[in-house]
Symmetry: C2
Subunit: 478 residues, 2 copies
């Protein structure tokens, strides 16, 4: 296709989504999309990786209803202020009007916590660590964009309850560790975790920590959030336990949202190139595509040999396709390249004579020979090495986009080419005026401070010039 | 607990659901349940087995929105007649009234087929075979019962489109084959597939084939259905292709619903016994529970040894738990027995001295010794043998419940003890009056005829005495 993803991301992304058959945008409800098999198979793999990491850390899967009675939803004041305007309401069933309106869940706190109040009695009932995979619905008023902003999106949400504040804070750190493994180790998506300003946190949380990644156009995209809820929900929902000192105490809670639609968008955006999609080896619906190259006189010979290679790889558990369709090899190369299959194998007369195959990784396109004996090892190795290269490239690009500035003018200049700019800032609790100035004059956002980063010493806020209490990260956002 | 599941199924089922923590019924919307981890983990395994069978047969996963515009839903006349009274309606979003009401999908035909019309142009676009896993919502007016009848339930639905009628009919047979593998080979649930009477088919189908299983109280439960839709949807939804003869033709369609909530209920009901739940080895969240038996003076020795056994099994991919809690061994035996863990291992001083463990399968409770060397093989073998025993027992019981009768009086008598009774019947197209008589006088249903079973010769309908064209199966239903 030859569209540059950095200089023309919007067109690149739309073209890949459409031509690689990732999504169909013609569903006749605004903001709702149809996720097609070539995307959804990879999303299912993403789900299984993420769920495995959660289960390793003792989260259990649970399935709550998608409808929430209005009376639940309004119990926590900030929460309903934040979500009330975004809810789809069910008012009728069959030919009857319902006595109470039901919200299509925008998030599940108010569905789950009434039950937590029933489940938790003593300290031995704690901690509770549960996760739920599925969709949520929010009536977005901003312009929607496939996978990036929609009215229905897929995610995982965890809901944890603890006896002490410290355990809850540790859980937030564990959630960040899960993101390191899932987003970076497994998916190869660079990101930064920031504690959001107080005026930009989850409705009903003490603190919100969010994972921001960068898209190729230099704007940040929030792809996951973990919230220290403190006791803000346990009090209105009356989630108490009898502590060992004989006193009833409210539990401390956290919740964690892993936005699968947006993470999928980031996966596509980070790994792809001018030739289309690139799927990491462990996440591709097809890991190896075999393209047989033959003439009329050696067709059966080549196909038989290719079928043998197919069977060998299949028996080792690889997801492999032998493309026996009528198209020309060149057409097949382009098609599978565009769809991002990580490894292509070419098999012709010459490969058969040499008792091997040609292996072509999607990212470099460099052909190399592998003998039949070493085939299985070579495929695993190429898959891993390709992922290593993709991650190195992504990390370099991400690092290059992390800048810093010490004055408002410098911030303005550095933001011109996108990316994330670190600046000294007065306060994440009270600095909303400085935040608004950055928003209005630079069309950018203060995304928050990095967890564990030291405080600036003797530096001034780039906006108001008062003493800086944080290094914050500023960027334009989706 | 010692409740007999046959003579007192209702109490048995409620007790198991509650005490094994499979479900919480206290969610404050009628007909909606919370599926707890001990059930949901097994349901997730069920999903992965069923999806694997579908994918082996070239079905691709897809994700359509859960909302369907009213104008889509009413396109096929029979369909909206059947589902119109059962739909949850979304009428508002945020503070706005929607221009068009949105149905929370009761099933996805009318969500998917407008897109099928866009995707299918030529013969090379066919067949399309897609599946979707997730929930659907129906405003049931009958009494709800956990997993058996709810207003929200989990299922898999496939939607296939073909160029010819024969291909569609073959797909129905393939769907039945998938049920044989999934329900019987993998889950060990006996069932019978019946072509439903014309007046009892899916709204919008030419023919409905349904899998009925028996519950311990002798009533049948429909757990899956596959429908020959013919061209009933392709015409109103305008799903056409240009055939090789240059003529535009409507596609032939099938759809197939695998009801995961009900199948889970059947799994619990078929395998369980007077001591509680029994999970098959391949489907249990924990396959092996290790119970260490020690006194104060050998605690560390026993625990260390047990941890070694745990690690060995874990490294081989088994789902295993070492129960190190403070409870007594007897308490642990009862607890894990009730929760249906297929294999218990007991480890005490004696087992350590003999360099082995005691293995106790859940169904027989018979202890046998296994040395450390043979441990892994023994666990696999015990798991398989236990499933074989469960299936044999279930099959015997199912066969015993299949009866036949040749007069109305005989039918009445045989139905008294529950089960499924085969009788000659006049017509599945025109015999609705005979059907109604059975329904009214015997409180039972004509469930349909068995696929591939011959026609009765020279026999009379047990109701009207006219010539019988089918052997039909009659039972009381859920």
């Amino acid at each position: 296709m030859d569209i540059d993803k950095h200089s023309n991301f919007s067109e690149w992304f739309s073209t890949v989504l459409k031509e690689a058959k990732l999504v169909d945008l013609r569903y006749n409800v605004k903001g709702f999309i149809v996720i097609l098999p070539w995307a959804f198979k990879t999303m299912k793999l993403m789900y299984s990786f993420a769920e495995a990491e959660l289960e390793k850390r003792n989260h259990a899967p649970v399935n709550f209803p998608v409808v929430i009675p209005e009376s639940n939803l309004i119990k926590e004041e900030e929460h309903v202020k934040g979500f009330g305007g975004e809810v789809f309401w069910i008012t009728h069933a069959g030919f009857n009007r319902l006595e109470e309106r039901l919200a299509l869940r925008p998030t599940s706190e108010t569905a789950m916590y009434p039950l937590y109040a029933l489940w938790i009695k003593g300290k031995s009932d704690l901690p509770i660590k549960m996760y739920q995979s599925g969709a949520v619905w929010r009536y977005e008023t901003k312009a929607t964009r496939p996978f990036i902003r929609g009215r229905e999106f897929l995610w995982i949400e965890t809901h944890d309850a603890f006896a002490t504040k410290n355990e809850a804070l540790s859980q937030v750190m564990e959630d960040i560790e899960i993101l390191n493994v899932f987003l970076w180790d497994i998916l190869g998506i660079p990101f930064i975790v920031l504690r959001r300003p107080q005026w930009d946190k989850f409705p009903g949380a003490d603190d919100t920590y969010a994972a921001d990644t960068l898209m190729p156009d230099g704007k940040v995209l929030q792809i996951a959030t973990t919230h220290m809820l403190g006791q803000r929900f346990s009090k209105p929902f009356n989630i108490k336990f009898m502590d060992e000192d004989g006193r009833e105490k409210f539990v401390w809670q956290t919740c964690f949202g892993i936005g699968m639609n947006r993470i999928y968008a980031a996966l596509v955006a980070w790994h792809g190139d001018n030739k289309g999609l690139i799927y990491p080896f462990s996440l591709s619906p097809i890991q190896v595509v075999i393209v047989p190259i033959f003439k009329e006189n050696n067709k059966e010979k080549v196909l038989n040999y290719a079928r043998g290679v197919y069977k060998k790889l299949k028996s080792k558990g690889f997801r492999v396709l032998l493309d026996e369709s009528e198209k020309t090899p060149g057409f097949k190369f382009n098609e599978w390249e565009f769809k991002g299959v990580p490894i292509r194998m070419e098999i012709g007369e010459k490969e058969i004579n040499n008792e091997g195959v040609l292996i072509v990784p999607r990212d470099t396109g460099i052909r190399s020979f592998a003998s039949l004996n070493e085939l299985v090892d070579k495929v695993s190795k190429e898959g891993k090495e390709m992922m290593k290269r993709l991650k190195e490239k992504n990390w370099k690009e991400f690092e290059k986009s992390l800048k810093s500035a010490s004055t408002f003018e410098e911030l303005k200049k550095k933001l011109e080419n996108g990316g994330i700019v670190r600046v000294p800032f007065c306060s994440l609790s009270h600095g909303i005026e400085c935040y608004n100035k950055i928003k209005e004059e630079l069309k950018a956002e203060v995304r928050g401070e990095k967890v564990g980063e030291g405080k600036p010493k003797g530096l001034k806020c780039v906006v108001c010039g008062k003493e800086a209490n944080h290094f914050v990260y500023v960027a334009r956002q989706y």
